[in-house]
C-alpha cells in the first residue's frame, strides 16, 4: 500500500470495509452461511428454537436482495438499515423479538471474527492525527455508525477515527455521492480539504472526486478477489447440497 508521507489535508476520510478493516478471502455468501450456522446453534441453545441454517441463510439472502431492489426503485440514493433486515428476517422465520436479537448478535459476532485491522493504514492515520489531521470514517453499509464503532473497537481499539458517517444512518450513499454532501455539510470544510481513501472505484474514487474531494485508492490483491469468487461458488454449491439433503430428510420424516 503506497501512502504519501503527509496527507496535506485537514480531514482524512476513510472507507471502512476492505480499507480500515480487511475482510478475508471468504465471500459474502460464505459469511452469511457462517452467520446462519451460528444463529441456528444459538437459537437452539438459548431458546430451544429449531431453524435449519439453510433456512436462515436463504432468509438472509432473500431479505437483502428484495430490500436493495426496493431501495433502488424508491430511494436510489439511500440505504437499507440492518435493523430493518433483522426485523424482516425474524418475521419470515417466525421468530420473536428475543430471537431476532440472536440473529443480530450472530451477525456481529461473525463480522468481528472475520475482520482484521489494516495496521499499515491505521499506523499512518495515527501519525496524521498526531500532526493535527481529523480522521473520519465514511462507509456505504447497512450497519449503523455505532455498529461500525463496535467493529473498530473490537479489531483496532486504538484507532484514531473521530467520527463515523454510515450510509444507513443518513440514508445517503457514497456510490451516489449523497453521503459526501452530508460529510461536507457536517464537517463544514471545503471539499478540497478532504482526502478520501477507499477501495471501491466508483464509490471511493469516482464519486469522491465528483464531490470535489481528493481521493486515494487502496486495492486488495487480485488473488484475494479471485479467491472470494471461488468461495462464493463453493458456498452456493454447498448450500444447494445442504438444502436438498434437508428436503430429503424432511420428506422421509415420520408424519
Amino acid at each position: 500500500m503506497l501512502l504519501p508521507k503527509t496527507a496535506a489535508a485537514r480531514i482524512i476520510s476513510c472507507d471502512v470495509f476492505d480499507t480500515l478493516l480487511y475482510r478475508d478471502h471468504r465471500s459474502e455468501r460464505q459469511r452469511f452461511n457462517d452467520i446462519a450456522v451460528l444463529a441456528a446453534q444459538r437459537l437452539a441453545a438459548e431458546r430451544g428454537i429449531v431453524r435449519h441454517p439453510g433456512a436462515i441463510y436463504d432468509a438472509r439472502l432473500d431479505v437483502q436482495k428484495q430490500a436493495y431492489r426496493a431501495l433502488d426503485l424508491s430511494c436510489p440514493t439511500g440505504d437499507v438499515r440492518f435493523a430493518d433486515m433483522i426485523d424482516a428476517m425474524a418475521r419470515i422465520l417466525s421468530l420473536d423479538a428475543q430471537a431476532a436479537e440472536i440473529l443480530h448478535h450472530a451477525e456481529i459476532a461473525i463480522e468481528i471474527a472475520q475482520l482484521t485491522a489494516n495496521t499499515v493504514l491505521l499506523d499512518w492515520l495515527r501519525a496524521q492525527a498526531r500532526s493535527g489531521c481529523r480522521i473520519i470514517a465514511v462507509s456505504d453499509t447497512y450497519h449503523r455508525g455505532e455498529t461500525i464503532a463496535q467493529l473498530l473497537a473490537a479489531r483496532a481499539p486504538d484507532h484514531p477515527v473521530a467520527q463515523i458517517y454510515a450510509s444507513a444512518d443518513h440514508n445517503a450513499t457514497k456510490r451516489t455521492g449523497a453521503l459526501f454532501e452530508v460529510v461536507l455539510r457536517q464537517e463544514g470544510v471545503a471539499a478540497a480539504d478532504i482526502l478520501h481513501i477507499g477501495d471501491d472505484t466508483k464509490a471511493d474514487v469516482t464519486m469522491a472526486q465528483a464531490a470535489g474531494l481528493r481521493s486515494l485508492q487502496v486495492l486488495r490483491p487480485k488473488h484475494l478477489v479471485f479467491r472470494r469468487r471461488a468461495d462464493a461458488l463453493q458456498a452456493r454449491a454447498l448450500h444447494g447440497f445442504r438444502i436438498r439433503a434437508a428436503h430429503t430428510q424432511r420428506a422421509g420424516a415420520p408424519a
Binding site: 432468509a59 428484495q66 436493495y68 431492489r69 426503485l73 424508491s74 418475521r91 420428506a251
Partner: protein, 410 residues
C-alpha cells in the same frame, strides 16, 4: 418426490400442493419488497386480470401470516391495449414494437380498430395494407375523417384511463405494477406514455421471450422467475415451458380490459371488465387450480411462515416434473382449454393444436404446452421424445449462457 404424487392429482389438489406453495413464496417476496419501499409515493397496483387474483392471494397471505401492509393497494384496470393508448400520439418505440409483434401480417386498419375498439372508422385504402412501422406513423399523420376519428377515440379512452389511474393512485406518484409477467409490456409502455409518474413492475416471472429491447427491465423484476428461457438446471424456469398454466390459474373469468365508460355523478370511470359482481368473480366459483392455491394460503399461520421457502422448493420440483416430464394423468389434470390472444382481439388459441394441423409434429409445435402435446400425440413413445426435447433445450440454454459469458468478458 415422495409427497404427494402429483400424477394422481386433480386440478384443485395440484393448485394446493404445487402452485399454492409457489405463490405463497411469491407473496412472501412481494411482502419483503413492500416492506422495504421507502417514502410515501408508492402504491401497489394489481393489474387486471392476473394481478386481481394475485392481490386476492397476497392480501389473504398477509391476513393469515399477520404480516403488516405498509403501502396502499389498488386494482388497476389495464391491459397492453389500454397502455398503448397512453403512448399512441405519436406512437412510442414500445407501442410500435408491440404492434409489429402482435399484428404481424395483419392490416393497419385492424390495429386501428383494436385501438379504437370501433369497426366503423372508414379508413383510407392504404390502411388496409399489412403493418409496417414507417407507413403506420405516416398514415397516423393524415387528416382524413377516419384517421381523425381514430385519434379522437384513442384520446377519449386514454383520458378515461388516466382518470381511473388517478383514482387508483390517490395522489401517489410511484405506480408499482403487480402482474403475472412475462416481458412487462405494460410497464414499458406506461413509462413512455406517462413519464411524469414513476413506474416499476413486480411480476411473478420476468422473461424477454420476445427478444425486444428491455429499457424497462431495470425497474421490472420477476419475483419468482427471472430468465429469458427455460434452463433444465434451473427448476424455476420450468414455469416458462407451460406459462399458460400460471396464467390460467391466475386469470379470473373476466374480460380483458378494452374500454372505459365515464362514471356517473363524478365517479371514477369503469372498465368493461367491471361488470356487476366482478369482484366476486375474481375468486373462483368452481374448484380448480386457484381455489387450491387459496386453500394452501389459508393453511398458513405466523408460526408456519418459516416453512414457506422450503415448501416452495419442493413444489417447484413437482411443477417441473408435471410440466417437463408429464404422463397421461398430468396432461389430463392440466388441460386448460382455450387461451385468449388478447390486445383488443377476441380470437382464442387452443392449448393443444387440433388434428386439423398438417402433421403430428406441427400439432406439437403449435400447442401452448408442447410436452403435454407430445404425450397426447405419442402416448407410448412420448417419454423418449421428452428426453430429446430436454436435450435440445439444454443445448440451447448452454449456447445462450456461453454467449452471455463472452459478452460479459468483452
Amino acid at each position: 418426490m415422495s409427497v404427494p404424487d402429483v400424477d394422481r392429482l386433480d386440478a384443485e389438489t395440484f393448485g394446493r400442493v404445487v402452485l399454492g406453495p409457489i405463490l405463497a413464496e411469491f407473496c412472501l417476496r412481494l411482502w419483503l419488497f413492500e416492506r422495504f419501499l421507502q417514502g410515501d409515493e408508492a402504491v401497489l397496483l394489481f393489474c387486471a386480470r392476473g394481478g386481481l387474483r394475485l392481490r386476492l392471494a397476497y392480501e389473504r397471505f398477509l391476513d393469515r401470516t399477520a404480516l403488516p401492509q405498509r403501502v396502499p393497494h389498488a386494482d388497476l384496470m389495464v391491459s397492453r391495449l389500454v397502455a398503448a393508448r397512453t403512448a399512441f400520439d405519436p406512437p412510442s418505440p414500445g407501442v410500435l414494437s408491440e404492434l409489429e409483434r402482435e399484428f404481424s401480417g395483419q392490416s393497419m386498419a385492424e390495429i386501428a380498430a383494436a385501438l379504437a375498439q370501433r369497426d366503423d372508422l372508414d379508413l383510407p385504402p392504404p390502411w388496409h395494407a399489412p403493418f409496417e412501422t414507417e407507413t403506420f406513423i405516416a398514415l397516423l399523420a393524415g387528416d382524413e375523417p377516419g384517421v381523425v376519428a381514430l385519434h379522437r377515440a384513442v384520446a377519449e379512452q386514454d383520458g378515461l384511463f388516466r382518470a381511473h389511474l388517478a383514482a387508483c393512485t390517490g395522489g401517489r406518484r410511484h405506480g408499482v405494477l403487480v402482474d403475472t409477467g412475462l416481458y412487462g409490456s405494460t410497464v414499458r409502455i406506461l413509462q413512455e406514455g406517462i413519464p411524469d409518474r414513476q413506474w416499476s413492475g413486480l411480476q411473478f416471472a420476468r422473461c424477454n421471450y420476445k427478444g425486444l429491447p428491455t429499457p424497462h427491465f431495470a425497474r421490472t423484476f420477476g419475483l419468482s422467475v427471472e430468465s429469458d428461457a427455460y434452463k433444465p438446471w434451473e427448476v424455476r424456469t420450468s414455469a416458462l415451458r407451460f406459462w399458460q398454466l400460471i396464467e390460467s390459474c391466475l386469470e379470473p373469468d373476466l374480460a380483458s380490459v378494452r374500454t372505459f365508460t365515464a362514471g356517473a355523478d363524478g365517479a371514477a370511470p369503469r372498465a368493461n371488465l367491471q361488470v356487476p359482481g366482478w369482484e366476486s368473480r375474481v375468486a373462483p366459483e368452481q374448484p380448480g387450480l386457484f381455489s387450491g392455491v387459496l386453500a394452501a394460503i389459508d393453511s398458513l399461520t405466523p408460526e408456519s411462515l418459516h416453512r414457506v421457502p422450503q415448501d416452495a422448493a419442493r413444489a417447484w420440483q413437482q411443477l417441473k416434473d408435471a410440466v417437463v416430464w408429464p404422463d397421461a394423468q398430468a396432461v389430463a389434470t392440466l388441460s386448460l382449454g382455450h387461451r385468449s390472444r388478447d390486445f383488443g382481439r377476441t380470437e382464442l388459441r387452443a392449448q393443444f393444436a387440433g388434428p386439423g394441423a398438417a402433421s403430428p409434429l406441427k400439432q406439437i409445435r403449435e400447442s401452448l404446452w408442447r410436452e403435454g402435446a407430445v404425450i397426447r400425440t405419442f402416448p407410448r413413445g412420448g417419454r423418449l421424445a421428452l428426453s430429446l426435447i430436454e436435450l435440445i433445450y439444454a443445448g440451447r440454454a448452454l449456447r445462450s449462457e456461453m454467449r452471455a459469458l463472452h459478452r460479459r468478458e468483452r
